[in-house]
Every structure is written in C-alpha cells, then in structure tokens.
C-alpha cells in the first residue's frame, strides 16, 4: 500500500513536470517571437546592433575603455 502511494506521488510529480515543461515551452516561445522578435526586427530596421560582431581591419586596436576602479559601497549591493 505504501509503495502504491509512493508510486502515485512519483507519477503525479512526473505529470506536473511534464505540464510545466509544456507551459514553459509555450510561454517562452511566445516571449521569444513576440518580445525578442519584434524588438530585434525594429532594431534591425533602425540599424541598431546589440553585439559588435565585425572585424575592423582599419582599426589600430580592439581595446576599449573600461576604467573599472573601486566604486561607492552602495554599487556593490546591486546586481548590475
């Protein structure tokens, strides 16, 4: 009886996981094509790039400014 109950619980959990996978898939697909997709298309239309992908042979250096020093303490409480 105990084993039956445990198996039932396992089955319920597996069913729950499957349902949440399906819901995740649907929500993430919607977010990707509507949220990310529309923004990306609009950005491409106005010529905005989010990553620098190209090699630039005419440039002398690829180093870019960082200037990372000690910041005010409150900045370190933030995740950004």
């Amino acid at each position: 009886m105990k084993k039956l109950f445990e198996d039932f619980k396992k089955g319920q959990k597996a069913f729950g996981d499957d349902i949440s996978s399906v819901v995740n898939f649907v929500l993430l697909t919607f977010t990707y094509f509507v949220g990310v997709g529309l923004t990306s298309i609009f950005a491409k239309i106005i010529g905005k790039h989010f990553l620098e992908l190209n090699i630039k042979k005419d440039k002398e250096t690829y180093w870019s400014e960082l200037n990372l020093n000690k910041e005010p303490m409150e900045n370190y409480y933030r995740q950004f």
Binding site: I41, Y62, W63
Partner: protein, 586 residues
C-alpha cells in the same frame, strides 16, 4: 571579521572563507557532491568552510558573489536580440535556469544559508583580478585577466598597488580567446569547460612550426590580432553566441573536415590543429603582455581567468616578455573567484591592508587519524598502522620504487583543479612502462596525455630548464618547462613528447611528509622526482574523504593506499573490489 566568497551557477561552484583578511578555507562543491564541475549552489563547500572555523552563518559579516548577474543577463538578452531567430533553441534551454535560480541569487543565499546580513556583487573580471593580485607576494603588479566570458568582458588589463586595483581596458564578448580555445576543443571532439587542457597536451604531437603547420595560417583567418595583442574573432566561424554548439560549418570547411567524434581516432590533422591553436593562443598572450608591460611599467605580472591554466603558455611568459616575476592563483579559473571577491571586499572595499599571501593550496577538508581509524574499523577494512612518520615515508618510498601505484591521502585537500600532494596518486617516473601501467591500472586516459613530475624546489634546476628566478607558482603546477636533455630518458614517464614537463615544486615547510617522501625515494632511485597525478577515477572529481579514496582504490588498480597513518593493501580487501570503469567519464 569573517567574509565568505561564493561562485556558482556556471561551472566549478566553490566557496572560500576569510578570517581577518586571511584565507582560512576554500573548496569546490564538486569534491563533496562527486559531480565534476558541479555548478549548483555550493552548500557543502560553504558548510565545510564554516565548520573548519567552528562558526555559524550568523558570524559571517559579508558574503561576496563573483559576478553581477543582471549584467550577465543583459548580455544574454542582447545575444538573442542580435541573433534572432537563430537563437531560439538557446533561448528555450537557457532562460528557465535564469528565471529559476540565477536571477534569484539573493533569495537563494538567504534561504539556503539562513543569512541575514549584506551580500555584495563584484564584477566578474574584478573578482578574477583580485584573486590573482591580492593574495600574491607583490606590492604592485600589472594584471591580466583572460577567460571565456564574464558579464560582458573576456579580457582586461590593469594595475594593482597595495590594496587597490584598477582595470583600464577590456575586450568584450563575443570576442574571446577562451571561447576560441573551447570551440576548437569541441571541434576536436573533447568536452567544453573540461577538456581544454587535453588540447594543450595534444599540441606538441602536432607541428609547432608556424611556417610549416598549415592550420596555423588557416586559424589565423578566424582571428584578427593587432600589434597590441587586442583581437577580434570572425564570428562567421562560430556560433556559441546563439547556439549550444560552437563551430560553424564554415569553420569545419576551413579546417578540412567535420567535427571529430570523441570515439574517432586522433589523426595528424587533429594534432596539427591543436598545435596551431596553442601557437595562436601563445602569440596573443605574449603580444598582450608586451603591450601591458609598456603601458603599466611594472616588473611583476599576475594572471587569472581560465586561460591562465594554460601552463605551456605560462612557462614562456618570462622568456618572451620584459616581466621579471609572475604569480597566478592555484585556481585561476572561475573556481578561484570566490577568494577574489572575499579579498576584494576586505582589502579594497573596507580598506584593510593586505595580509594574506597564498603560499600553499592546502585549504580544503582534512581527517584526523582517529576519524580514519573509525572509518576503517566500521568498514572492516584490513589495514596496517605505521609506528611513526619515518616508517610511513620509508615504506611508501620502497613501494613506489618497486613500481607500485600509490593512493596518497594526507592532510588538507587542495584548493583548485590540481592534486598537489595531499590527494594524489604517486608512482615511479624512472620506469619507462609506468605511463602504460598507470593508464592500465587507474587512469585509462588518452595515450597522448603526459603525467606530471613533482620535485623538491631545491633540486629543480638540476632537472629542468627553468626561468632564472624560479616563479613561486611552480608550487601550484602552473608552469611547463623543458626537462634537461640528459634526464629525459631517465624519467621517461613524466617527459612529454616535446621533452617538457608540467612540474610541481615543493618546499619542506609547505608539506614536510610529501617532501620527505620525495627525498627518500631519491635515495633509492638517485632521482628525487615522483609522478604526481590526481587521485580520482577518470571523469570523477578528485577524492575528498577516506570513503572516496578507498572506493577509488578498490575501483581501480591502485596497489596501496597510504591514508593518514595507515596503509591499506588492495589485495587484502578484494571483497570491496568493483569496476570503476563503469562510472568513468570524460
């Protein structure tokens, strides 16, 4: 004051504890969970750190985290925005873990640890920089951090003086020498974020002459390197910025074949590609370092980031740049950033003077003889107890000299990816068959991979062509040097195909028993060098506890286990034998 540093959720989760600015404990989570490169929240490593100082979480003043998660998430979103719709699969696979755990790190820390005080977030490359500069012996030094990617940054340089660090310039994702190395690792059929060091070991079998190796010029097409060492990758050859796989078809065409299956035989073409990659990596590193020397004007350099694990390149730095001294953390990869964040908080943010030079890597868990005896008794294991240390050293040296393979479990576990003489497998380097014996009995690893020699620091110049002033980091097995010609045939088991060895040096004050063993072996063999390889089953993390060590011996062909003050002979305990190959991984 106690500060806890944490890194997790990417690879090699780990924790480190600082007491009044001194590093008192550090460990990787994988050692406790037995899951290699475990990226989960390091609960066990934190528990060990706290228990080692007999404190509770309430006594921790600050917790530091090794990156700024939201900046990293921003980069991820930008990747998807730039690469839409190619990044769909990656979006589906990566976003759930961000939403479920990575963006909830404060909640996770507070809930799992029942912690109520401050959590500070340090930029990833600042954590790297701090992990290499602040525990170094240098008052001031140039700093180079170079890895796969942090939040946005892949490479930075800067300067450290006393307890301050400034990072001047950066190279940003997707351009990354670490990810180039990982991509070719994947192309050659090895696992990413795990087997990059194998490519380094494979490279000397290829053609290391830039003029003759055809893949050198081919690989140069994928990277544009400027005179100052700064670089960009031609992203048409890569797809890691939008896909789980790394090389594109274009890269496969360039290199003349498809991605190697891991079971496929390695050909000369694969070896030449590995050689070309190593040549390019060294070229970039040396160019950057020469430029950094010009800008920073310091005689000292500290390195960190995963690329700093490239011990072959490290061994060439002092010869090919104007730097006179070099230092690298025993764990320069992400696993070591926890030390960086903890020290950065104590020294840079709270303004305390530096007082923690890291002289050895023995920061992990340890077991007393009484604990080991209890384990042996509970498991009904037949053992012999040594009368004293002299007998332990004498017997072990004799067993090694007789070509037995020894599991060596003593003192505190090492911090970082290397076994440095407390969780090691030791054997005789003078026997020409020892490499095959080790592979047959224990390691079952690729034939091309070399074994590492350990030598007492005072003896090193007799056997190796080292830099004039031997860097302290040879103690952490982070430098490869040529073995002197006349000794190569005498220590064949640790001489790589190009005559080099990834040596570990040891000082008496760091580990007297290990030092004594090497010297005692030297009295018998006339060469005080041992093979030191990590104590693990292939694909498993290095052993942590007596139970792990015993299981490893009984699952492999290790002949004897010297654990604390006890000797265990495999043959006496065959009731516990099992086949470790069944669980062996990559």
């Amino acid at each position: 004051m106690y500060i806890l540093g944490i890194s997790c959720f990417y690879h090699d989760s780990s924790a480190a504890l600082l007491r009044d600015g001194k590093i008192v404990a550090a460990a990787q989570e994988e050692r406790f969970t037995r899951k290699k490169h475990d990226d989960s929240f390091p609960e066990n490593a934190i528990k060990y750190c706290l228990e080692s100082q007999e404190i509770t979480i309430n006594e921790i003043d600050y917790i530091g985290f090794y990156e700024k998660p939201l900046l990293k998430f921003e980069r991820l979103l930008y990747q998807h925005l730039e690469m839409f719709p190619k990044s769909y699969a990656k979006f589906l696979s990566s976003l759930p873990s961000w939403l479920n755990e990575k963006l909830r790190i404060i909640k996770t820390i507070k809930k799992k640890l029942k912690y109520k005080k401050d959590i500070l977030f340090i930029q990833h490359h600042m954590a790297h920089a701090a992990s290499s500069f602040l525990p170094s012996p240098f008052k001031e030094a140039a700093i180079l951090t170079i890895d796969g990617v942090g939040e946005w940054t892949t490479t930075t340089y800067g300067f450290g003086k006393d307890n301050e660090i400034k990072l001047f310039k950066e190279i940003k994702f997707p351009h990354s020498i670490g990810l180039l190395y990982s991509t070719i690792t994947a192309y050659l059929g090895f696992s990413v974020n795990n087997s990059e060091y194998k490519i380094m070991g494979l490279a000397p079998y290829g053609n290391m002459d830039k003029k003759i190796n055809p893949y050198y010029e081919k690989l140069k097409q994928v990277i544009d390197i400027k005179d100052d060492g700064s670089y960009r990758l031609d992203m048409s050859f890569f797809k890691y910025h939008y896909s789980g796989r790394m090389p594109t078809k274009k890269l496969c065409n360039l290199l003349g074949g498809k991605i190697r299956n891991s079971k496929e035989e390695l050909t000369q073409r694969h070896k030449d590609i590995a050689a070309a990659l190593q040549l390019i990596t060294e070229e970039v590193l040396i160019k950057i370092l020469n430029y950094v020397h010009e800008v920073v004007k310091s005689e000292n350099i500290v390195l960190s980031g995963g690329v700093a694990l490239n011990s072959v390149a490290n061994g060439k730095i002092l010869k090919n740049t104007k730097f006179k001294k070099i230092w690298i953390n025993p764990d320069p990869g992400d696993g070591g950033t926890n030390i960086g964040v903890a020290l950065y908080i104590y020294n840079a943010l709270l303004g305390n003077q530096r007082n923690s030079v890291l002289k050895d890597a023995y920061l992990g868990s340890e077991f007393s003889n009484e604990e080991i005896r209890k384990f042996l008794e509970d498991k009904n294991i037949k053992y012999y107890e040594f009368r004293d240390e002299k007998e332990l050293i004498g017997t072990t040296a004799k067993l090694i000299f007789e070509n037995n393979v020894i599991g060596w479990f003593q003192g505190k576990m090492e911090y970082g990816p290397r076994a440095l003489g407390n969780r090691s497998i030791l054997s005789n380097p003078c026997d020409s068959k020892m490499k095959e014996i080790l592979n047959l009995k224990v390691k079952h690893r690729e034939k091309f991979r070399p074994f590492a020699p350990v030598v007492c620091r005072k003896d090193v110049s007799k056997y190796f062509d080292c830099d004039k002033t031997l860097p302290e980091i040879t103690d952490f097995m982070l430098m490869v040097y040529p073995i002197k010609e006349k000794w190569r045939k005498k220590i064949p088991a640790v001489t790589h195909v190009d005559g080099s060895g990834r040596l570990q040096t040891i000082r008496k004050e760091q580990n007297p028993i290990y030092y004594g063993l090497i010297k005692e072996f030297g009295k018998k063999s006339k060469i005080p060098i041992l093979i030191n390889t990590s104590f693990n089953i292939r694909g498993e993390p290095i052993v942590c506890s007596p139970d792990d060590a015993y299981k490893c011996m009984m699952g492999t062909g290790i002949d004897y286990l010297i654990i604390g003050n006890f000797l265990i002979k495999r043959e006496d305990n065959l009731k516990d034998a099992w086949d470790g190959e069944k669980i062996a991984g990559d």
